[in-house]
């Protein structure tokens, strides 16, 4: 029997209180492989019986160096890596990256592409909220919500597969518009989904909203006031649940959001139940946006015709010599951007998703920084987890809705 490999307490002495060093409180790893950490997040918990004395998050277990990898790819090829960042909001990442590149090289986007982008981004928001609802239901022992939510998510993934051929990593939104036009059946599929979905949200509400067990587990737990939320840098549903009405789709409308009228749901308590209510309300608002965007979707081209930056369609290459030259240049060396830095933010289901691109005039981005919302939302976890039971900590992690690909990049 080999000697037990123990990590002695003194190499993390500066983090925990001295009661842990005397051995009074238990130091427990709610580690990278844990059913309720929604991914590979490690929490070093200092427990006094069931109550959490302090919680020290340790992230980086899913760090894949996307920012460094994107520096060695041209702008068009780096778009493929953006899907893998926040893998629940793939089209939202594409949208953030494409709009940042369009801002960098001042590329126009036709209206049809703008409204299709809004429809797909909102569908992706619904799919992401559905996964959050399913897994939070699992964490709070409401097993059936997981199966209901994934049933609806399958119909959304069918729509994505309809227009792009891939279920999740579509890279369908690219700089200059979208990859190709949506098929004819797209509109019918989306209309069918919008007609069916509100009734399903009422089903979820019937399951959870007034369920006394759910209320006991979520009411008044992990409350964050609006000043603290802003100070922690929280954005998205957790911030709106604390009473700050900050939604980038309303504050800085992009891609045509100003034409659609929808409300931004906010609550004031800022606890786990408030975040639940805000996200459930956002599901309904997204359906409203999709409906209006679908009605206003104009006909026309879906990708900018400025072939210096956007590869020409395949049909033109055989016929038009200039298109062939553009095609060859774009796919070998790529277009070069002016020497400057640009920041562009988009409202992802988790908060403000921003892309900061520094370009040195070459075809490859010199530096890309992703401002990901889960990184800051997770920062408030130790503050929310002080003096809370371990079971409530599980509900708090669920309510903050972190995605580890978003946190570690």
């Amino acid at each position: 029997m080999t000697q037990l490999q123990e990590v002695s307490v003194d190499d993390i002495k500066h983090l925990v209180s001295e009661r842990a060093i005397q051995g009074e409180t238990v130091l427990l790893n709610m580690g990278p492989q844990h059913p309720s950490t929604h991914g590979v997040l490690r929490l070093l918990l200092e427990l006094d019986g069931e109550t959490v004395v302090s919680c020290i998050p340790d992230i980086g277990f899913l760090h894949t160096g996307i920012e460094k990898n994107m520096e060695s790819k041209t702008y068009a090829k780096a778009a493929v890596m953006t899907d893998r960042l926040d893998y629940l909001n793939t089209l939202g990442n594409n949208l953030a990256y494409s709009m940042a590149v369009e801002k960098l090289i001042e590329l126009d986007v036709p209206d049809r592409a703008q409204s299709i982008r809004v429809i797909l981004a909102e569908l992706q928001r619904i799919a992401s909220h559905l996964i959050w609802l399913g897994t939070t239901g699992l964490d709070v022992a409401a097993m059936s919500t997981f199966l209901y939510c994934f049933r609806e998510r399958e119909s959304i993934l069918d729509i994505f597969e309809l227009c792009s051929g891939q279920r999740m990593m579509t890279t369908y939104i690219r700089p200059g518009g979208i990859w190709r036009d949506v098929p004819v059946e797209f509109e019918a599929a989306v209309r069918a989904f919008i007609k069916m979905f509100p009734k399903r949200v009422d089903e979820y509400e019937a399951l959870l909203s007034r369920n006394p067990l759910f209320l006991d587990r979520t009411f008044g737990i992990g409350a964050v006031s609006s000043e603290q939320a802003l100070n922690f840098g929280m954005t998205g549903p957790p911030l709106r649940a604390s009473g700050v009405k900050w939604d980038l789709r309303k504050a800085r409308p992009y891609s045509g959001y100003e034409q659609y009228d929808f409300e931004v749901p906010t609550r004031t308590e800022g606890d786990v139940y408030a975040r639940y209510i805000v996200r459930i309300e956002e599901l309904r608002q997204s359906v409203k946006i999709i409906e209006q965007a679908l009605n206003k979707m104009p006909l026309g081209p879906v990708r900018s015709s400025n072939h210096k930056f956007v590869p020409p369609p395949r049909s033109e290459i055989g016929v038009n010599m200039e298109a062939l030259i553009h095609h060859f240049k774009l796919w070998t060396e790529g277009f070069s951007a002016p020497k400057c830095a640009v920041y562009n933010a988009v409202e992802s289901p988790r908060g403000e998703l921003g892309v900061y691109i520094v370009s040195d005039g070459g075809p490859k981005p010199y530096r890309i920084h992703w401002r990901t919302p889960s990184f800051d939302n997770l920062l408030a976890l130790p503050f929310m987890a002080k003096g809370v039971l371990v079971a409530d900590l599980v509900a708090i992690i669920g309510s903050v809705d972190i995605v580890l690909g978003d946190v570690d990049r």
């Binding site: 060695s72 921003g354 920062l379």
Partner: protein, 170 residues
């Protein structure tokens, strides 16, 4: 340049000597390293830039003196404004004062900049590596750090890569 941003820019240029440049509607103010704490305090209290959206660094490697450029991006939720503040940092033992006292989310952002670029932050509560393993040497996002590209295994070079690939024994 949005009109509401004017007073902020005047106040910034008056108190700290700073250059202002604008590109595509984003305003960027470059100030000295020592005055970043005062600037952050002023922006948050007087001009209500209550959210530090992000904070990151860029490594202009061949240039040695101002090698790093650290970017603080402040957002004002009430006035819907964005302002980025730039600080030049030299290449030899780069260090900056910390603003964790003013913005709590700077704690992790600064740890990430230390982990990825090696810029020290004096006064930071616990400056440890955040994304890389604790015993990792080197700072990955520096330009002189290799990408770590390994030759992918295709059919033509299958055998020689198979030999040197460290397969896991049982």
């Amino acid at each position: 340049m949005k009109p509401e941003l004017e007073p902020t820019i005047q106040a910034l240029t008056k108190t700290f000597n700073s250059q202002v440049n604008e590109f595509r509607g984003d305003v960027r103010v470059t100030i000295l390293a020592e005055s970043i704490v005062a600037a952050a305090q002023m922006l948050r209290d007087e001009f209500d830039f209550s959210l530090l959206s992000t904070m990151t660094a860029v490594d202009f490697w061949p240039e040695e003196n101002p090698r790093f450029e650290v970017i603080y991006l402040f957002t004002s939720v009430s006035k819907i404004l964005n302002l980025s503040v730039l600080v030049q940092v030299p290449g030899i033992n780069p260090s900056l004062p910390t603003i964790t006292g003013i913005f709590k989310n700077a704690v992790w952002r600064e740890r990430e900049v230390w982990d990825m670029f090696g810029i020290k932050f004096e006064g930071h509560p616990d400056l440890r590596r955040i994304l890389m393993p604790a015993d990792w040497e080197g700072h990955p996002l520096r330009k002189d750090y290799p990408l770590g590209y390994e030759e992918p295994q295709f059919t033509f070079n299958f055998e020689e890569i198979d030999l040197r690939k460290p397969y896991a024994k049982e």
